[in-house]
Symmetry: C2
Subunit: 213 residues, 2 copies
Amino acid sequence: MVRYRTSVSLDGFIAGPDPSEADPLGVGGEALHEWALKLAIWREAHGKEGGEVNESTVAMQAQEANVGAEVMGRGMFGGGGGDWGAEPWSGWWGDDPPFRVPVFVLTHHEREALELGETTFSFVTDGIESCLDQAKAAAGGRDVLIGGGADTARQFLAAGLVDEMHVNLVPILLGSGTDLWDGLAAAGVTLEQTSAIGAPDVTHLSYRPALSG
Amino acid sequence: MVRYRTSVSLDGFIAGPDPSEADPLGVGGEALHEWALKLAIWREAHGKEGGEVNESTVAMQAQEANVGAEVMGRGMFGGGGGDWGAEPWSGWWGDDPPFRVPVFVLTHHEREALELGETTFSFVTDGIESCLDQAKAAAGGRDVLIGGGADTARQFLAAGLVDEMHVNLVPILLGSGTDLWDGLAAAGVTLEQTSAIGAPDVTHLSYRPALSG
């Protein structure tokens, strides 16, 4: 099964305006993830102690269960454009990225695989379907998670390649930024609601996407 | 207490594109209300038999409880612009509108009050605060419901006049239309989530709005 999960503002943005290397989530975008950062389950995965246990713990466990590989866009790996240069950098995620499954990064520029801690990043230049095939093979029967960002996820959704969509709906209004839903109505994407869980400062929604017609 | 409730698509629209007198909810907009129209509680209020009882029944009861008066824009009363003409029409709602509390219609054009069945429509031309004062007086200590449409509701939200916002989030993508959230981030509206109830084909969310700063 192919799954996508994201946090999104009530007004539909997964990042605020003016994202930059210093501020990849854009103005106000960090507030999209506050609900997660205070959880014990998140802190433990990132080598920290303490934190809360609440309804979001169950939702996050479900969203992270049975993932065998992850797919992401170049922006989520490490931002930037153009080719990788002579000393390509190793992304946003530090020496021990939290994925700990094979990660496939969609890019237009070839690059050798990169191993960091327990995570290996492979770079895929021949499109989303090839990327998904490689991720499925690496997942060994477990699920493939589309990690993001929005451009990448929208490509998979518009192509009808996502089986389950987890939307963590955060009660903030960003006003502008990266619009999760842009182009999906025009692509004929329909959504069947499969679950809804209220939690402190977030609602966890799950949908089964399909293409109409 | 002043409350606003609306149904909205996942991508933030409370009506689809190209609304008209024949199709006031715009293209695709009727799907926003399917979850409600199949409920026994809705059918009974509209003089029909049968229908479903599910989690939405409880949410709708809560959203409709203790309402003593309702406020709406001219578009929700009966559409159109300009003055009322010599034989002003009596709106979308037929001979027995479902409100059954005093309704205050915001308009730029004066008009005598209109009684239809158990509902009296009063027409208010001197702005939202006066409208709200009149509605509160008529409500006799019960709550005032901002019925809509989006323009009207956004004016009340941006002015910090809404105490509780009920959002019935429907898993459809309209792509364009009347944007519920337009301008609210810029107005400094913040939202505290107070409840979330999953139901068939809809999630009922409640928020406590405020103005930042």
